[in-house]
């Protein structure tokens, strides 16, 4: 049994079927990337995995447990945490409060303080902005905060939804470098990206999603070489 296993997931918005039977797996310690065009269903998949959307059919199994019917808070407690599309930082709250909310499911004060220190090692910029409200941060800083906030829960599986969206190229490289570092520290990562080139460069395996279906699955290296993927997602 895989760390995370998704079987035949179907998710609908009213009459629109956004996921048409998606199956995939993530093994412990991997970075798995999910690439695909806008509207392919990437965000829908992550939202379904987090319990924000309810699948019509299909099953999600995490570490041997069927979590399909679980509420979002229970899924987070089990260790599946996401940095959502659009970051969704709490704009009216300080950077510190955002990070504290990331650790909402935890009670171990000392360890939380230690983890906050670790987030500042990864993102020194956040430490400088500690008491600033999140709404005043730049886009890149907000992205750092969203990832740092997700880390504060000590996730077992970290899901990142478009962490590079709208960031300057230099910052994009920085973010991907940090994702690799987080993975080396033992966090399994499911990375959703439109920036397929960078995502495939750091991932172990990848899936290509197209109109709600997995159309390709391979090691990241093989996908990066694949003619179809190169044409469609890597700009030739």
């Amino acid at each position: 049994m895989s760390f995370l296993q998704v079987d035949n997931l179907v998710t609908r918005y009213g009459a629109i079927t956004a996921l048409q039977g998606v199956s995939l797996r993530v093994e412990e310690g991997e970075i798995v990337t999910l690439i695909g065009a806008n509207g392919a269903g990437k965000t829908t998949l992550l939202r379904t995995l987090s319990g924000i959307l309810r699948p019509a059919t299909g099953a999600i199994t995490f570490r041997g447990e069927n979590i399909t019917p679980w509420q979002t808070d229970r899924i987070v407690r089990a260790g599946i945490v996401q940095s959502p599309e659009g970051r969704l930082v709490f704009r009216g709250m300080s950077v510190r409060e955002n990070l504290q909310l990331g650790a909402y499911t935890r009670r171990d004060r000392d360890e939380i303080a230690k983890d906050m220190g670790h987030v500042f090692e990864l993102f020194p910029r956040l430490k400088e902005r500690l008491n600033q409200s999140a709404g005043t941060l730049s886009g890149g800083e907000q992205q750092m905060l969203a990832i740092g906030r997700a880390l504060m829960s000590r996730p077992k599986l970290l899901m990142l939804d478009e962490p590079s969206l709208g960031l300057a190229p230099l910052l994009v490289r920085e973010i991907f470098r940090i994702v690799e570092e987080i993975n080396r520290e033992g966090v399994t990562v499911l990375l959703v990206e439109q920036n397929a080139r960078q995502a495939l460069a750091i991932a172990h395996r990848g899936y290509v999603l197209q109109t709600g279906q997995v159309v390709m699955e391979d090691t990241a290296a093989a996908l990066a070489q694949n003619e179809v993927v190169r044409k469609a997602y890597l700009g030739g």
Binding site: V76, R77, P84, L88, Y104, T105
Partner: protein, 299 residues
């Protein structure tokens, strides 16, 4: 000058009471985007629970202990009512259009008022004097009615306590997180249902405290006593900026002072209308309220 200061003190006291009630509206609006029109009736319920509790406890426990028991019972009973209203009236319609929830709230309010008439009787009841002597207090040249002093002390203490809860506790942070972004809050592992329940509990406790304080000043209670203060406090919450906690306090104080000064002026008859005049003015001039930031609609 003395007259003026005395009126300012009265205005702040009544403003504090409006603030206590307005906070319940604004906190519930924050987490649910619902105007809980039954909130004023929880205020009435709190006063009645204190009335019955003091009939039972009064002869059995004397002194300060008895008063504390009466207050605790009234607050806990109102908390229970608030939680029951949320669980059985609002939760089933939470994912329905907002109008459904609003109409439900009006229905709950009517139910409590008319149900109150059945259970408590339609005649006004004499509220017991919880705080003992009615002798006014003299400070310098100022003569202040004793229950006004209690109102000032209690509302200040409650507002400080609330500030602490909202800003520094785990629950307070969760409540603010939900009012900013419910989806992101859920992704933090916050159990939204529990926080909404706790928000109703907290708002109801404040409303009950307000009901007690007002009843101890004006010792006549009836099942409709929550209607007008509820509507006025709602106006105060909108004036301050619905959803904003400091806004509710400021809106309450503005309303309290405005009422007292209008009441003391040549236009004293307009006292009861000033809340709604303020509401209309703010909706024309700054619809998001004094401290409201306006709603950012996502596209």
């Amino acid at each position: 000058m003395q007259e003026f200061l005395q009126q300012v003190i009265n205005g702040i006291a009544w403003g504090g009471v409006y603030a206590l009630i307005a906070l319940g509206y604004t906190m519930v609006y924050g987490v649910l985007r619902l105007i809980n029109f039954a909130h004023g009736d929880v205020y009435m319920f709190g006063a009645f629970m204190a009335f019955y509790a003091s009939m039972w406890i009064g002869p059995r426990v004397t002194g300060v202990g008895g008063v504390v028991l009466v207050i605790l019972f009234a607050i806990l009973a109102s908390v229970a009512l608030g939680v029951v209203i949320e669980r059985f009236a609002y939760r089933p319609v939470r994912h329905h259009p907002r109008l459904t929830a609003l109409i439900t709230a009006i229905g709950v309010s009517l139910l409590l008022e008319n149900g109150g008439q059945q259970v408590f009787g339609a005649d006004p009841q004499p509220f017991p004097s919880l705080f003992g002597s009615a002798e006014p207090i003299q400070i310098g040249g100022l003569i202040i009615v004793r229950s006004i002093v209690y109102i000032l002390v209690c509302t200040t203490a409650l507002l400080l306590l609330l500030q602490y809860i909202v800003m520094y506790t785990r629950f307070g942070k969760a409540m603010r997180a939900i009012s900013q972004d419910p989806t992101a809050a859920a992704l933090m592992g916050i159990n939204i249902d529990n926080v909404i329940t706790a928000t109703f509990a907290l708002g109801s406790a404040l409303a009950a405290a307000a009901g007690l304080l007002v009843a101890s000043y004006n010792p006549q209670i009836d099942p409709y006593m929550g209607l007008l203060p509820g509507l006025k406090a709602f106006a105060a919450a909108v004036v301050g900026g619905i959803g904003s906690i400091p806004g509710a306090v400021i809106g309450g104080l503005v309303l309290g002072l405005a009422e007292v000064f209008v009441g003391a002026s040549a236009y004293g008859d307009w006292r009861e209308a000033i809340a709604f005049a303020l509401l209309i003015v703010i909706l024309l001039v700054k619809p998001s309220g004094l401290l409201g930031t306006g709603i950012v609609e996502k596209v």
